[in-house]
Symmetry: C2
Subunit: 597 residues, 2 copies
């Protein structure tokens, strides 16, 4: 069975030396939660993940969730007790508002914990993950009354949450939805309809489940402009907070799916269920986007998280499994064969993963810091820039980290050879679990369209220019540092390719929006390469500084520099191909009639 | 449930117009099997695949194979009857030697049937597929006595076959194997040991199963030089061909695996089983390679086959599923939304598949014709060249078609959105089934090493130079044809990049073999791009000729030209990145100590 070791050293290096958390102590978010505290909490979280959640990962896959005749759902053996321990440890409340019982810890810490939870047991992590999304949406958009009733229990994790968007005939195009909300005289609504693909939709982990449901108020505007957001609790909640009657929502069935079997993916039937409006009538998408943006970062992390745990196991296997001899002569002549890791093609797959994992982690932690800056609002200008970065880069994190995360899980499985195909080894589960992250919370193609269609042009391109500014500032800082020359050159080249692609879109996207969409996925990946090149430049600078200081682990720093060089030589060349593809536009792509396919 | 429609139009166009089968009628292989006969057989095969095998594909995945307490194995419901029908239809004997009851049909026909069988039911197709591999190995290397006893029933499909290489501690490195063969006074051997991952190892489809087993004769040389090949029948065969006693081979368990559940992947225990030497003592690898080369082409086809069927279903879904509006304005204003196929990013995924499927099919059919040329031996020089092409390109077909086939199944699944993750839709089964093809019959990294380490340098590089010659001849033929300019330019550029990579290997591989291995996978993919660019040039030339002749389906020909242009603009740019990666060598890849991973 696969093992998981939380990458605490990586977190420490990234937060302290690369992202400069100690320098940010003037930010309110970090005033009371400095690096020492953050590291202590991470170390505690690591124990839970390694010892409690990881051992349940394969059990969850094998057993899945069971729906009973009465519509109730049982989670896999051990999940209920583990969730209880998780709640008692206060983990759900980490990043929540102290006003509702939260611990008010920085986003950067909450996301790092998220990564570890997803690495150890992604299907389990979805229960608290979705709960936190519901918390965020209600915290931002709910009335004081809704907040008073629901936030404390969502904060503690005593209740869990779900998001209900998809219906059988509509996923991405929510304007087509048919679920209806009928206003009642007491201000509540009666909700009727069917929602599908509802993760954590029904289970035995918590005494109540709070569904956030998109529905159309009867008589409202057509299409997406008539969509509103409602809270629909599984059990109605009395004014004193105690549970009342069962509401009219039930699990019709559990989907049989490719992976994440430990999470109950439900068809939920709303049959005259009582619901409460969140935010304004017909403005449901705005509130839902709060939840989705939060969730999209979390899904991006899932991609990295599974790449990390599959990498760890593949690396261990490659060190242990004896097969063949090094081409340069036996590495372990006293043994019957050399370990797999002597073979360059095995290294290629491991190095690809390592180069991705380490910089993708830096990337999302950097974005998390932007979220902390935004939340702290120290300076309106800084907060605005942080908000821009978050909005711009959320689709990049979601789609790139899950596309690559999946690809890396496939490679980690490949390193196991035939054994990787066998369920017992656990490597194929990572592949199956990782696959969903490319699809849910907006399929990756939708993320790419969000990037080029919405985020790029917002506020006259302010965010993307700020992103280039961020890179240029880093290049200027490193300009006189000879050790940084290869990193700066590679970053500059990638940045320039991204700029060329951006300019091509500006020139051609107005003429024909299909040109934008045709290049959107390549553009998103090119954007990510520029972001990771920026991260590798920062990592290399920190590693180089660490080596010069001579105080830390020289081997650790040298490995960072070597991995960064690998990233330049073996990953970044793809950026040229992406640019060429983008510039080819949409003509050949759209040439065929639908019938020709 | 997914549907499958055999691409008979594609076969007809490729065989007649692109690969010029009518011009090859002077070849003995095609003397009695011209295009008309081949097309008639393909049409019959299509019926079996579409109507009999495809409907059993999901059943096979859901039910899997069941091992009973006595070691017997039951295949999924319907498999036994389907196999009976398949045998009665004479499908296993298609490409076999008439001396043993075969139909002596060309390889090109047998492989095209293989593709259709794998598209409709890959797990089922493995039973006859492996049988044919055993047939080939015995036909080439077996004694007259072994051929007399085993070939007729393997030809008819009344008996099936397996190949037994892997042991728990060794897969790629077969020199480590522990299975032993003890010579007996009657010339037979007693085989003892354990083999794992034996596809079709035990089942209820046939009355006997003929295992080809690699083992070490006691007292023979160490390592791979002491490996011999044996026939070990499940039931001993009496001199008159009737079945005798049960032999000492039994199924210890069935592996629980990611996919191909309809095929029984067995642990086989050899416990004093009687075996018969195939070929010479200690020369087992040579005989096994005959089987493996055959099998490797077949596995390559599986990648394409699943890409084809997943594409067909994704295209149908994209035409039917209404979601969102075209960016250029509503395409179907009378409906609630436009079909998915109006969206460029959906097109991107479909066009990638289409551009791959159509040229990969041309590629393997072209290679199959080389096999027919080789088999026919009309001219020693031509036969040698055909043999060179087969040897050189077999690893390219195996690895590239399965790497890409898998990636395309993932994209086809992606087009379904959340529904693609649900088992009922069948798209996730294609992904799980396709995954094994990258691993078995030599993991794709091993194929890449075979290409750069063995095939490239064989006979002073004769084969690779012949491959360049093939491209150059095509370029010369098309030089004066203005319509072919973009195709020729793209082919020339890709060919030159492949040549640069080859030269870089020649210059640097001697100094350090790790440089070869470090670039091997990129080189194999670059090789494949050059081969597919060659195929697209031939396809475009045929389509252009068809359009000018004005007799055929103009829409079909125009779609070919548009898809070829897409291939040039959106697929070939990767060749530059591959070359850049190859030229970066192995330094960064091999820099880290094993402990640093």
């Amino acid at each position: 069975m696969p093992a998981y070791h939380a990458p605490l050293n990586e977190f420490r290096f990234l937060l302290r030396e690369v992202l400069g958390l100690p320098l940010l102590s003037n930010l309110p978010a970090y005033a009371s939660a400095g690096p020492d505290l953050i590291e202590a909490v991470l170390a505690e979280g690591a124990k839970i993940c390694e010892q409690l959640l990881a051992p349940l990962n394969r059990v969850g896959d094998q057993q899945g969730c069971t729906r009973h005749a009465d519509g109730s759902v049982t989670t896999p053996a051990g999940f209920k007790q583990a969730y209880k321990t998780f709640v008692e440890g206060g983990w759900p409340s980490l990043g929540c508002d102290p006003e509702y019982g939260g611990q008010g810890m920085p986003v950067v810490l909450a996301l790092a914990i998220n990564e570890m939870v997803s690495s150890s047991n992604m299907a389990f992590g979805m229960y608290p993950g979705l709960t936190h999304g519901v918390y965020e949406a209600l915290h931002r958009h709910g009335s004081d009354e809704l907040k008073r009733i629901y936030l404390p229990k969502l904060t503690s994790g005593e209740w869990t949450g779900t998001m209900n968007l998809t219906e059988p005939h509509c996923g991405t195009d929510l304007g087509l939805m048919r679920t209806r909300a009928e206003p009642q005289s007491d201000g509540s609504y009666i909700i009727s309809g069917q929602k599908i693909f509802i993760s954590a939709g029904e289970h035995d982990l918590a005494e109540n489940i709070i569904h956030l449901v998109l529905a159309k108020i009867v008589g409202g505007p057509e299409g997406i402009k008539g969509v509103s957001l409602f809270v629909v609790p599984k059990f109605l909640v009395k004014p004193d907070g105690s549970l009342g009657a069962r509401n009219g929502v039930s699990c019709g069935s559990i989907e049989e799916k490719m992976g994440i079997h430990g999470n109950a993916t439900c068809v939920l039937n709303y049959d005259n269920a009582v619901g409460y409006l969140v935010g304004e009538e017909h403005k449901g998408m705005r509130a839902m986007f709060t939840m989705m943006n939060e969730a999209r970062l979390g899904v991006g992390l899932q991609g990295l998280a599974l790449s990390e745990v599959s990498y760890q196991n593949a690396a261990a296997y490659a060190r242990e499994r004896l097969q063949g001899r090094a081409l340069t002569g036996p590495a372990t002549p006293d043994k019957s064969a050399d370990p797999l890791i002597v073979h360059p093609d095995i290294r290629r797959m491991l190095m690809n993963q390592k180069a991705f994992n380490e910089s993708a982690r830096a990337f999302y932690l950097w974005i998390a810091i932007q979220a902390d800056i935004l939340r702290s609002h120290v300076d309106a200008k800084q907060a605005e820039k942080a908000d821009d970065m978050l909005a711009l880069l959320t689709p990049v994190v979601k789609a790139y980290l899950t596309d690559q995360g999946f690809a890396h899980c496939v490679n980690a499985q490949q390193i196991y050879g035939g054994h990787g195909y066998i369920a017992e080894q656990g490597m194929e589960q990572f592949v199956r679990d990782a696959r969903i992250a490319m699809i849910y919370e907006g399929a990756n193609g939708v993320q790419a369209l969000d990037l080029v269609g919405r985020k790029l042009g917002a506020n006259g391109g302010r965010a993307v220019f700020a992103f280039f500014g961020e890179i240029d500032a880093l290049l200027a800082e490193c300009a006189d540092d000879g050790a940084m020359t290869p990193f700066c050159a590679a970053l500059k080249e990638t940045r320039d390719r991204l700029e060329q692609a951006t300019m091509w879109f500006l020139e051609n996207g107005m003429k024909n929006p299909n040109h934008l969409a045709a290049g959107s996925t390549d553009y998103l990946h090119l954007f990510a390469l520029a972001a990771l090149a920026m991260m590798w430049t920062r990592i290399a600078r920190a590693a180089d500084a660490g080596l010069r200081a001579g105080t830390g682990d020289a081997g650790f720093y040298k490995a960072k520099l070597a991995t960064g060089r690998y990233f330049i030589e073996r990953v970044l060349p793809d950026s040229a191909a992406m640019l060429a593809k983008i510039k080819s536009g949409s003509d050949a792509m759209m040439a065929l009639e639908a019938e020709a396919f």
